[in-house]
């Protein structure tokens, strides 16, 4: 979250909200046999990205000068965070700072509010997360092996909360090229995970 949001205070506020949600969600997670850590990581990223989008929307409505000044860290120019946070995508999601209905769903700036929450059963089980955690250093090294344009596009999606079209605008690349880069990047990470964790299955 600290990597996504422009200030430490904002990250800590979201952190607190997410753990308070966990208090409510933990019986359901336990009942479904799903990983608490996976829920935390996915939900924390989602909540931080939602807040970032809300900050961008506020900055955009405040005027053109407000974009990078209020939605990104001014002192971080040139870093990945400031590059992502300084954007003001047109599809930014409205968020009033309140967590919505304590339900789990992936971040999506373009998702319709009426969309059902994502079932907890779609999250990994604790044994799967334990296996991943034991190989995490190796897996993160694999991410660093991605070609720079692919890694940059992936970081803008993961930590910048941007959609494919917003990433294309940010990188100044055609949408088709960005789509291809993103798909190649996630496929690379997925295949590395399956190989490193020994869970590879042929897709016949």
């Amino acid at each position: 979250m600290a990597h996504i949001l422009p200030s430490r205070d904002a990250a800590e506020e979201i952190l607190q909200e997410v753990f308070a949600r966990l208090w409510s969600e933990s019986p359901s997670l336990s009942q479904e046999g799903r990983s608490v850590v996976a829920w935390l990581v996915v939900t924390a990223r989602e909540a931080a990205v939602d807040r970032l989008r809300a900050l961008r929307k506020t900055a955009a409505s405040a005027g053109p000068q407000g974009h990078s000044a209020s939605a990104g860290k001014g002192s971080d120019h040139g870093t990945r965070k400031s590059k992502a946070a300084a954007l003001a995508p047109s599809a930014a999601k409205s968020l009033d700072g309140k967590p919505e209905a304590m339900k789990f769903r992936p971040a999506d700036g373009a998702r319709a509010p009426a969309t059902d929450p994502v079932p907890l059963a779609w999250l990994p089980q604790p044994k799967e997360i334990t296996l991943i955690d034991s190989r995490l250093v190796l897996l993160h090294k694999a991410i660093n092996q991605l070609p720079k344009p692919q890694r940059q596009a992936l970081e803008l999606a993961v930590f910048g909360g941007l959609s494919e079209s917003e990433i294309a605008a940010e990188m100044g690349e055609p949408l088709g090229k960005v789509r291809t880069s993103l798909r190649a990047a996630v496929t690379f990470v997925k295949h590395r995970r399956q190989a490193v964790c020994g869970t590879w299955t042929a897709n016949i």
Binding site: F19, V41, A110
Partner: protein
């Protein structure tokens, strides 16, 4: 919906990186219970977990923990 071409989009759906139409189409397809896609979307959550942890960790201020414990105590109190 032909499922094969979706094999590269589940992670992007979790990340919220798809277009509005792409995201809603996939969500509706999943809601219909396609076993191929449900297995893939679960698998994709593992990759998203790895990606979510790929930044440098930051330690929160200790007051965050104490404030959180206060909040939880207030929530738990009526049930005691």
């Amino acid at each position: 919906m032909d499922c094969q071409h979706l094999d590269e989009v589940y992670e992007l759906w979790w990340l919220g990186a798809l277009s509005e139409k792409g995201s809603l189409d996939l969500r509706e397809h999943l809601a219909r219970g396609c076993p191929h896609c449900l297995a893939r979307v679960r698998d994709a959550a593992e990759t998203v977990y790895i990606l979510g942890l790929s930044s440098k960790p930051a330690r929160p201020h200790p007051r965050v923990k104490s404030e959180l414990l206060r909040q939880i105590s207030r929530k738990a109190a009526p049930h005691r």
